[in-house]
């Protein structure tokens, strides 16, 4: 019978905050509950039914009590709400210098990819003391990546990137669980995160890799012939991708969109969804050809492209070459 912890370890920057809020709640609600139990037992014993105490004396406790236990709980609860929200904001605000790691959930295993190219299954090596941002999507059903000792969790949705970040403050090997029921061996979809000293982490990184994620992405960029349309000098049939990440660009139909992970993914898998303004919808769909890992590599490559400093005209105003072939796009008849 191994030792059984009654309280989880704190191994992340946000863990003390969550535990603080948790213990505050335990104390406050515990006190109120204890008060109620004691009062009940005291009344149950003091005013128990005896021959001389057959009918209750109709004295009422003061009516002001009613107001107090309506307003007081409301104030306490709003306080709890505010405390909970502050911690929640801290969990949602991803620091800008975070180490980017990509995760893919698929039925009953976790796959992690580091920017330097390492690929791991059900294991994640991270440096201690540095914020790590995990961008994740699922290949099939909904999973949920949960690091109990870091007190962070987020559902991993199919077809949509979501992020989760933590900053490990303690080295060691800790649990990774899937928290959203996902089928037969949902309980087998577990793993461990290994938090290492930065030096050990560098040594682990150096061990065997086939080039950084971005470099792998570049190979795929050529393999899928993306470079025939997406040229850097803005003369290609597709928009220039260099330096586009994070910018806001207009799309057909007047709206504009922030170029983030989800937009890149959607433009690869369903290019017709949001077409960059001034361009023809000629890009074929890559749905089913590009795997989740390749998507992550391509995205890492696109994000790594530096904004072009050359004198070429800024990408937005470049005039697209009229496309040779006439496309039989169903033009909308209704104005």
């Amino acid at each position: 019978m191994t030792d059984f912890p009654l309280f989880p370890e704190q191994a992340s920057s946000v863990a003390p905050l969550v535990d603080g809020l948790y213990l505050f709640l335990v104390v406050v609600t515990g006190a109120v509950s204890l008060l109620i139990w004691l009062v009940i037992f005291y009344f149950a014993i003091k005013y128990r039914r005896r021959p001389d105490n057959e009918l209750a004396q109709e004295q009422e406790p003061p009516a002001i009590l009613e107001m107090t236990w309506t307003v007081l709980p409301l104030l306490i609860f709003i306080g709890i709400f505010i405390a909970g929200s502050l911690v929640f904001f801290r969990m949602q605000a991803v620091p800008s210098n975070a180490l980017e790691v990509y995760a893919t959930g698929r039925q009953w295993m976790w796959k992690f990819q580091h920017p330097t190219g390492q690929r791991e299954i059900n294991e994640l090596h991270v440096p201690v003391g540095r914020a790590v941002k995990i961008t994740m999507a699922s290949e099939d059903v909904i999973h949920s990546l949960w690091f109990p000792v870091f007190r962070v969790k987020a559902d991993v949705l199919p077809n949509r990137y979501r992020t989760l970040w933590f900053e490990a403050t303690k080295t060691g090997r800790f649990h990774i669980f899937c928290a959203e029921y996902c089928g037969t061996s949902h309980s087998g979809m577990i793993g461990s995160v290994i938090v290492m000293e930065p030096t050990d982490y560098q040594r682990w990184l150096a061990g065997g890799t086939e080039g950084s994620l971005a470099s792998q992405g570049e190979k795929l960029f050529q393999k899928y012939a993306c470079d025939t349309c997406h040229l850097d000098n803005g003369t290609g049939r597709g928009p220039v991708l260099a330096g586009a990440y994070g910018k806001t660009r207009p799309i057909e139909g007047g709206a504009s969109v922030v170029i983030d992970d989800n937009y890149i993914r959607e433009s690869i898998l369903r290019p017709q969804a949001k077409i960059a303004a001034g361009f023809q919808p000629v890009m074929p769909t890559f749905q089913g050809q590009v795997s989740e890992e390749d998507l992550i590599r391509l995205m890492a490559y696109v994000k790594s492209l530096p904004a072009p400093q050359t004198a070429a005209a800024p990408p937005v105003e470049s005039t697209p070459i009229p496309t040779p072939t006439t496309t039989n796009v169903v033009t909308t008849t209704n104005p």
Binding site: F89, V258, P335
Partner: protein, 112 residues
């Protein structure tokens, strides 16, 4: 103690059913209103008001629905309780729409 109906006989409204009978004319007037509004719906949908098309179409549909509820369904002569039921069911529907779109509208918003 005879159990005759004692005076503060609350909420036992009368004996015969609420005996209100709307005039024939009002039914035909309502019918004509609905016809006109249907034509307006189709006509408005042909004009391209951009984002305004949906709210306008919905407004006309709500007007038509209110007309049917008040006159065809006799809510206008009905006791207070019927009003409460009708209004609360649309109120619950509004709660559903508002809180659904509270999520869908704010999904893109960046953290402050």
């Amino acid at each position: 103690m005879a159990t005759s109906h004692n005076p503060d006989h609350v909420d036992h409204i009368g004996h015969a059913p609420a005996h209100h009978r709307s005039s024939l004319l009002s039914y035909f007037a309502v019918f004509m209103t609905l016809m006109v509004l249907t034509v307006v719906t189709v006509w408005v949908s042909r004009i391209n008001l951009g984002d305004l098309n949906t709210p306008v179409a919905m407004a006309i549909a709500i007007v038509k629905a209110t007309v049917v509820i008040l006159w065809f369904m006799h809510v206008i002569h009905s006791p207070r309780m019927t009003w409460i039921v009708v209004i609360s069911s649309f109120l619950w529907l509004a709660v559903m729409f508002v809180l659904f779109f509270a999520d869908y509208m704010t999904r893109g918003w960046p953290l402050s």
